[in-house]
């Protein structure tokens, strides 16, 4: 039995096409689709911070009387859902691949855990010293800072430019919003971070489609 019998000579074009097809098929199978993650977070931020914006108002008078408990419940509910979507789409328990990238992924996942733990301790320590609107700004600006930094790091690790750009944009908007006050911060996060995440989802989807072609 000669295993090389199926090797009718391919032209250079056909050979290159074969390599490209094989690479695309492999990437589609082993790299998780990033789109649901960005869409879920985009919607969570857009709606969640949007409610915050309506609650705070730009000048400190609420546009809509929504109790803070409802606003927080909605934001945390949406974030929990987004977290679930992220875990389900990016955690590859049944991946046939092991090694360096798996290790990088684990360390990156742990960085999120440590980052949010440290942020939580700081906010718990200093939050009670602040008036209510400033306290909620402390929590949201600190947590968006952690997100911005880790998105930039993720973009570097995975060499995904759109992810880095989103992280850098978040860092700037977050800083501007924190300086301007709770209402502005909520508005910038709703439109900028939420919208930015949705745009990133669309950019990544186009990139993936192009790869598939």
């Amino acid at each position: 039995m000669n295993m090389d019998d199926d090797e009718l000579a391919l032209s250079p074009e056909e050979t290159l096409r074969l390599i490209e097809q094989q690479e695309t098929a492999t990437v589609n199978r082993i790299v998780p689709d990033p789109v649901p993650h960005y869409l879920a977070w985009g919607v969570a931020w857009f709606v969640g911070f949007g409610m915050f914006f309506l609650h705070h108002g730009l000048s400190g008078t609420p546009y809509v009387e929504i109790p803070i408990g409802v606003v927080l419940a909605l934001l945390f509910g949406l974030m929990a859902m987004a977290m679930l979507v992220s875990a389900m789409t990016t955690w590859q328990l049944r991946s046939p691949v092991r090694g360096a990238s798996q290790e990088r992924g684990t360390m990156y996942g742990m960085a999120w855990g440590f980052g949010f733990f440290a942020m939580w301790v700081i906010a718990v320590r200093f939050g009670p010293l602040l008036p209510a609107p400033e306290r909620s700004l402390l929590w949201s600006s600190l947590s968006m800072l952690v997100v911005a930094l880790l998105y930039m790091a993720g973009g570097i690790i995975l060499s995904l430019r759109p992810m880095f750009v989103l992280g850098a944009g978040l860092a700037v908007l977050n800083a501007v919003g924190a300086a301007a006050g709770p209402g502005w911060h909520a508005l910038l996060m709703s439109v900028g971070a939420g919208g930015g995440s949705i745009v990133t989802a669309l950019v990544l989807r186009r990139k993936r489609r192009r790869l598939r072609r």
Binding site: D4, E7, E13, L18, I19, Q22, E23, P96, V97, R98
Partner: protein, 106 residues
């Protein structure tokens, strides 16, 4: 001038194996069944091609255990990655020389 094509990689089935393994990040390994599914080959066929690639030093095969079940992992060696790079460069060169006389552009 036509560059020599690496006969180990030039066989179509092995080219697909190497192209797949080259897509993995450096330092990553894939299970034998995972690779088999990606390629749509039979286990016997894939084994034969893998041992030829292993003989050439292009592929590293690691046999280990997950609990009590044996698991086989496959990865491209540094030499294999280099050989694939050289192979694709040679193919591109062939393409360029074939196109050059017809028109100036690429």
């Amino acid at each position: 001038m036509t560059p020599d094509l690496d006969p180990v990689i030039h066989a179509q089935a092995r080219l697909r194996v190497v192209a797949t393994l080259n897509t993995l990040a450096q330092g990553d390994q894939i299970t034998f069944p995972g690779l088999k599914d990606l390629l749509g080959m039979t286990a016997g066929n894939l084994s034969v091609h893998l041992s030829k690639l292993e003989e050439a030093g292009y592929v590293e095969i690691v046999k280990t255990h997950k609990g009590r079940t044996p698991v086989t992992y496959v990865a491209l060696t540094r030499r294999g990655r280099l050989a694939f790079e050289e192979y694709t460069a040679a193919i591109r060169e062939l393409l360029d020389t074939a196109r050059a006389p017809a028109s100036g552009d690429t």
